[in-house]
């Protein structure tokens, strides 16, 4: 972005919104929006509390388990779909349905099957993250040049060797993009899971803040989530940049 001929980083736009938020908050127009400065103060206050740390730990655990499963399952499935016409025909319609389906509506079904525990929350995370990871791994695999595939074959690669030594690496730029998008969706998944399934972790905090109309607390919690999403996005964006150089020469 350029303003008056100067290069300004994209994150600068955040400052504009932060100032706007502060003004609207100070004007006291809507009780839903407290001033940003109050929210930040509240943030500093609640983050060190045990309640918050426990909620964060619980949420992080479900999130990590869920995204871990989604990556371990999604990448091989996506690569398989990218390589095998039959697998692709069988699975693609489902993946396409789920990638855009209103997944929240499906959470009660998981709940009916797996109860009200952490398992259900983890599976909710998987449900949110999996599909985009599959789709991107598939797209990456399809863009691998035919001669690289033939090279692996002609030098006698087994299925596992071709997958682990060639396909995953060749498709890495897209796979990382898929994981990045999947993790951002997984944040949504873990909160929705915690709200619907059993009110624990961040879901529990949201619940009490909301029912007690603690708007500053609520916004502080949201800020934490935004920051986490931003961080994940940044880390994976950086990793994608690092492998970009070979995306063209596969």
């Amino acid at each position: 972005m350029e303003v008056f001929g100067r290069k300004i980083p994209m994150s600068a736009s955040l400052i504009v919104w932060a100032v706007l938020w502060e003004i609207v908050g100070q004007l006291d127009l809507v009780s839903l929006i407290p001033p940003l400065s109050n929210v930040v103060m509240r943030l500093a206050e609640i983050v060190p509390t045990e309640t918050f740390i426990d909620a964060l730990a619980l949420t992080a655990r479900s999130f990590a388990a869920g995204t871990g499963i989604a990556i371990l399952a999604g990448v091989p499935i996506g690569v398989l779909m990218g390589r095998s016409e039959i697998a692709d025909r069988l699975l693609l319609p489902w993946v396409n349905v789920f990638v855009s389906a209103p997944l929240t509506a499906l959470v009660p079904i998981i709940m009916a099957l797996f109860g009200f525990g952490e398992t259900t929350i983890i599976l909710t995370v998987v449900l949110f993250a999996l599909w985009i990871i599959i789709l991107d791994a598939r797209a990456g695999t399809r863009s691998i040049s035919n001669s690289l595939v033939e090279m692996a074959q002609s030098y006698g690669a087994s299925y596992w060797q071709a997958f682990s030594k060639v396909y995953v690496w060749a498709a890495l730029p897209e796979i990382l993009a898929g994981i990045r998008l999947g993790m951002v969706r997984a944040i949504k998944g873990v909160i929705i899971g915690q709200l619907i399934v059993s009110v624990v972790g961040f879901g529990y905090l949201f619940e009490i803040y909301q029912s007690n109309f603690l708007m500053e607390h609520l916004w502080a919690l949201l800020l934490v989530l935004f920051a986490l999403a931003f961080l994940i996005d940044g880390v994976f964006g950086y990793m994608e940049k690092r492998v970009e150089y070979y995306a063209a020469s596969r």
């Binding site: 040049s145 001669s147 690289l148 033939e150 090279m151 692996a152 074959q153 002609s154 030098y155 006698g156 690669a157 087994s158 060797q161 030594k165 060639v166 690496w169 060749a170 890495l172 492998v243 150089y245 070979y246 020469s249 596969r250």
Partner: protein, 266 residues
């Protein structure tokens, strides 16, 4: 005095055949008939070139020999064994190099050995040897994107040599390389053929290149391919490359092939 020998299409050499293609036909899904009952023998320790009009089925034939593509009918024998798929006695050099962009030159050259489970130290010392052979000493730690096209193809060649395959299949290996590099490459190839005692099967579009490097040239007709003529250029060796390129035997062979292939230009 050297002479270029021309054989009729039915010519077969029985002694020392390494690769034997027997009545191979290939019909692609969709009905394109690329090869029709083609039979060919490739003598051991020699470089045989496939030359023919574009789309006549050279790549198809090479891939069938490599075991990367099944023949619709017929069979290919390599050293007396029927080809059922890729095998360690055959190595392929790809037109677009097919290197792993995320791996160094060293790992790329050792990749065939890595797939076979050869221990790191051993495969890297073999790879280093062949990196030296193709003139890339000092580039072991470089990545492919930092190399020129010619150097990348040397990596591809070193990878094929490192697995110690007896048959090296090369599909237009120099077509993505500039002319100067190409000539240097051709001379290095002659050197390699002399040292390595391998059977090379080579596809090119360049008549000059074919005459310069080949022991035998197989002229193919238009799709579905038949063997039109087999030429053994028998270039004088031991003289400079420039002398070869001015030698009457060289010029005659080039002219003869040009006359034979001219009919396929539209």
């Amino acid at each position: 005095m050297t002479a270029t020998v021309v054989h009729a299409p039915g010519f077969q050499r029985s002694l020392g055949t390494m690769v034997s293609v027997r009545s191979v036909s290939k019909v692609y899904p969709g009905g394109v008939e690329a090869l029709n009952e083609i039979s060919l023998d490739f003598p051991k320790g020699q470089l045989t070139t496939l030359l023919g009009p574009s789309g006549c089925g050279k790549t198809t034939l090479l891939k069938i020999i490599a075991g990367l593509l099944p023949a619709t009918s017929g069979e290919v024998m390599v050293d007396g064994m029927r080809v059922e798929g890729p095998g360690p006695e055959r190595a392929f050099v790809f037109q677009d190099f097919a290197l792993l962009p995320w791996a160094t030159v060293l790992r790329n050259v050792a990749f065939g050995l890595e797939l076979r489970g050869v221990p790191v130290a051993e495969r890297e010392s073999i790879a280093e040897h062949y990196i030296g052979q193709v003139g890339l000493k000092g580039f072991e730690k470089h990545y492919p994107h930092a190399l020129s096209g010619g150097m990348r193809q040397r990596v591809g060649l070193a990878r094929a040599l490192a697995v110690k395959a007896e048959v090296v299949l090369m599909d237009e290996p120099f077509s993505a390389v500039d002319e100067q590099t190409r000539r240097k490459f051709q001379e290095d190839m002659l050197e390699l053929i002399k040292n390595e005692q391998k059977t090379f099967i080579f596809v090119t579009h360049s008549i000059e290149e074919a005459v310069y490097v080949s022991n035998r040239i197989i002229l193919l007709s238009r799709r579905p391919s038949r063997v039109m003529r087999i030429i053994e250029p028998d270039m004088p060796r031991g003289i400079t490359p420039d002398q070869i390129r001015r030698h009457p035997a060289y010029l005659d062979a080039v002219e003869m092939i040009w006359q034979a292939l001219k009919q396929y230009l539209d």
